[in-house]
Amino acid sequence: MSPFSQIITVTLWEFRRFFKPKNELIGIVVMLFIFSIGFFGGRYAASGEETKSELVVADNTDEYLISMLQESFEVTLLPADETGKHIGRISETEEGKYLQMQGDTFLLHAWEEPRQLGTLKGILDEYDQLRNMEREGVSGETLEKIFQGASLEETYFQDSFRRNRNIVAISFAILMVLAVFVSFAYQFTAITGEKQIKITEQIVSAIRPQRWMDGKILGITLTGIASVITYSIIGLLAGMLVSQFTGYSVFSVFDSLYFPSLAPTVILFLLFTILGILFWNAFLAAVASLINDPNNSGKTSFMMVPILFVVLSLLVLNNPDGTPAVFLSWFPLTSASAMPVRIAVSSVEWWQVAGSFAVLALAFYFLRMLAAMIFRFSILMTGKELSWLEVFRALTAKTPGKFQPPQSE
């Protein structure tokens, strides 16, 4: 049996084991259901706020203020001499709001703090400013002139798709993190779980650890990517649902990204993302190989490392051509997300892109070997988790046979 056939067999086994279209479909339906409830519920709740709330105002109030208030409230005028009676009524009925002016001060009487207090304060502030301007003899026109911004005509020579590329690059980084996080749980089941159910010795007698590990990494990567595609479909469906009610077409997002022109960039970003997912899955596989029991291992926190480096890579946005950014775009732990971001916001030489990709590919190549090596040693350690010293000894041993796991018979 060829190595390739064995790797493909393991890859498909892992993919079919973890990616269940039926469950994903149920997930989509449940998400849509929850989203619909949230959306329609929100609209229903918001519709209540559209009804103007009632506000009683003393009839000796400035007419201009009354007209301003009528834009946001259902204003009822009350003879000023009935003020005391009305305030007493609010206390008795436990509802209602009453506003009166006393010189430069406004008095508000209400049973409880009204939900529209912010709106009311805004109107009163605006009215107060206008009244003060009038007292100082400043006309509306003069004020408008003072606050008018400087006139600026803008002309930029960089292509206009930089923002779009930036969005795409960050989107791919987010997708990569999502895919890696989805893989997070599967790695424990696929590797640590198999160590726990003690099937590994039988498996390794049939397949070289490296082929087994390659199959695992590829299968889980496929699962992660398939899950992310599913989530993207959910997002798209949710967006389409929103567009039905908001009048904002979800497809306008694609229009604004102008895909035909961005296609080569998108493909490049996609390649970096896929390689990045493979790299991180090889990393997670190596960590999972070290762990015997996820509930009692201090090494589980290493699973959080990918997100740390992806966040770090976004620092490139500040100064895409500075030394730190160049380093991050070459360094394998950050390059999968940092290089696309650099490409998006700056002009990067082709050899830098190719070099960064090659370094990442090389790092993945060696990381998967490391994962297989750790796995090979750890399955023979019955009841004991490999320590970092033992990992180091395993790595520095001239031949695998030189590393001596404890006697297990």
């Binding site: 159910i197 003690k198 590994t200 039988q202 498996i203 049939a206 397949i207 046979g401």
Partner: protein, 313 residues
């Protein structure tokens, strides 16, 4: 390299050595398995059996020595997966998946076509009265039935050479007998079998060759007839006394090689080769308080214990 009869020998191990941190796990271990053998690889706990099997399958490397496999007229250091079947001592299968799915997967990574694997798996499940449980999760099966599934997974792909480490553990006596017949049948079909087990009475029924190791060292390596010829030609007499065993008195009898107290009031006596039983029993009858006498030839179990107990490094 020595000249080999490649038609007969499937596996040859020469002067295998392996040391762990403080333990010499294997010391100059040598044996060979011929095509069609049922080869019993025996030893007490910690003797180095599993270490040897793991070295054979390249899970760990030996410090020195030669391992040579011969298949299809060619010598290889590690056979292709389809040629080997392995039932590890440490059992484990996918407990949360349907039985048939696990069996097909394990056979397919050894190169068997999926349809063929499914058909073969169903045939074996029927033979072991488990066909109706093919789609159940393994965890729903009893320990004994899980053991049967584990056995199927090791031979389903019809390997030329099967390594079975403790194949009878977890089985009741009825199923142990069934497994003996299955192993015989597989052997008749051409499968060479390397068997490691503690159940000597079962091994005795199956094996034609035996290698006994202790502390990583070979104590005996040869055919079953040779081991009986070398160590099984002495009579053993189990004697029960009403009171304490008069060990010193028994040892003074003519023809006695050794006498040890096994349980309170019971002694096991080993007679020298060629000792006639009638004169010995006459002497024994004179001893005080004899209530029960049973004489028998040494079986594999007795030989195993004697050789291991006498083994000194």
């Amino acid at each position: 390299m020595k000249a080999m009869n490649e038609k007969e020998t499937v596996l040859r191990i020469d002067l295998l050595n392996k040391r762990f941190k403080t333990v010499q796990a294997l010391r100059d271990l040598s044996f060979s398995v011929d095509r069609g053998d049922i080869f019993a690889f025996l030893g007490p706990n910690g003797a180095g059996k599993t270490t040897t099997l793991r070295i054979l399958l390249d899970m760990i490397r030996a410090d020195s020595g030669i391992i040579a496999w011969y298949f299809n007229g060619q010598q290889v250091s590690l056979p292709d997966p389809p040629l080997i079947g392995y039932l590890p001592e440490e059992r484990g299968l996918y407990t949360d998946l349907p039985v048939i799915r696990s069996l097909v997967y394990l056979a397919s990574i050894r190169g068997m076509q999926k349809n063929e694997a499914r058909t073969a798996a169903m045939e074996w499940l029927e033979r072991l009265d488990l066909a109706d449980r093919a789609n159940e999760k393994l965890m729903a099966l009893s320990k004994g039935n899980q053991q049967k599934i584990q056995f199927i997974s090791s031979i389903l792909h019809k390997p030329a050479f099967a390594i079975l480490d403790e194949p009878f553990s977890g089985l009741d006596p009825v199923n142990q007998e069934k497994f003996i017949n299955y192993i015989r049948e597989l052997n008749k079909q051409g499968m060479t079998i390397l068997l490691s087990s503690h159940q000597m009475t079962l091994v005795e029924k199956l094996a034609n060759k035996v290698c006994l190791i202790n502390r990583g060292e070979s104590l005996f390596n040869g055919s079953m007839s040779e081991i009986y010829k070398a160590y099984g030609n002495k009579h053993m007499v189990d004697v029960t006394f009403k009171n304490a065993v008069p060990v010193a008195e028994i040892q003074s009898f003519d023809g006695v090689e050794s006498a040890v107290g096994t349980d309170p009031g019971t002694a096991r006596i080993v007679l020298q080769s060629g000792t006639r039983l009638a004169p010995f029993f006459s002497q024994l009858a004179g001893a005080d308080g004899v209530t029960h006498i049973r004489s028998h030839s040494r079986n594999l179990h007795d030989i195993f214990i004697t050789l291991v107990n006498n083994h000194q490094l």
